[in-house]
């Protein structure tokens, strides 16, 4: 059954996440989504792996899909999406990057 098979991929993803292997985790969750497109937790976990991979835009798309499915992960997805959007929408941190640049050039 596809859902059972999909859950196996989410378990594989969780193992990869615990090892800090975020690309492998994202691939496993993506496969879970392919097998069971209504498995809302897989979207949340996929988004989590993408955030660790430095891909918040793609993560937000997955979180929005998770919210739209209206399942038990909806509140978590909504909360995480709000947090990510708040950070992406915050004022640019140009002075922060410039300060680091100065330190790097003098290192």
């Amino acid at each position: 059954m596809d859902v059972d098979h999909a859950i196996q991929f989410t378990l594989k993803g969780q193992e990869a996440m615990q090892l800090g292997q975020y690309e492998e985790a994202a691939r496993a969750y993506h496969e879970a989504i392919r097998l069971a497109p209504r498995l809302d937790g897989a979207y949340f976990q996929y988004a989590s792996a993408l955030l660790w991979r430095g891909l918040p835009n793609e993560a937000l798309a997955a979180l929005d899909r998770c919210v739209a499915l209206g399942g038990p992960w909806r509140e978590h997805a909504s909360g995480l999406a709000a947090s990510v959007r708040a950070q992406l929408g915050a004022p640019p941190k140009k002075s922060k990057w410039a300060a680091i640049r100065g330190k790097v050039l003098t290192s």
Binding site: I7, T10, L11, Q14, G20, Q21, Y22, E23, E24, L39, G41, A42, F44, S48, L51, W52, R53, G54, L55, P56, N57, A59, P72, W73, E75, H76, G79, L80, S83, V84, Q87, L88, G89, P92, K93, K94, K96, W97, A98, A99, I100, R101, K103, V104, L105, S107
Partner: protein, 139 residues
């Protein structure tokens, strides 16, 4: 509770700092462009991460992953919402190149990919790189 039940908290679901994670991965790509992992470069990246106000454990997790699975630099550039901020981050990447040595073909390829993803034209990118070279005393 099953494996697909939601967790009780969101802790660990995402890095603490979203944009800083993007920037740290870009800088790691720059400094490891030659594919050689030098402990001094890892130390520099951890120092940068501390300057970015990232926790060391979190930074190490991200860097270790980046060393094993290299990010698409153009995709990283597109994550930064503000075009001017992309330019500043590119400038930081240029400075990182000189901190790691010189601009070889590998480093140039990564900078070009970031500039392309960030929408920075070739002339502007070259000027920013030249500024970094001048400030690093390499011009």
């Amino acid at each position: 509770m099953t494996d697909m039940d939601p967790p009780t908290t969101l802790e660990g679901a995402a890095p603490t700092l979203i944009v800083e994670t993007v920037v740290l991965r870009f800088l790691a790509r720059v400094i490891h462009a030659d594919g050689v992992v030098d402990p001094r470069e890892v130390k520099l990246l951890l120092d940068v991460a501390a300057g970015l106000e990232m926790g060391e454990e979190e930074a190490r997790r991200i860097l270790e992953d980046e060393l094993n699975r290299r990010s698409d630099v153009a995709a990283l550039a597109r994550q930064i919402p503000d075009p001017d901020e992309r330019m500043t981050v590119f400038s930081l990447g240029c400075a990182m190149v000189y901190a790691g040595g010189r601009v070889g073909d590998d480093e140039q390829t990564i900078l070009d990919a970031f500039a392309h993803g960030a929408g920075i034209d070739a002339t502007a990118a070259a000027e920013i790189l030249a500024d970094a070279a001048r400030e690093a005393g390499r011009a």
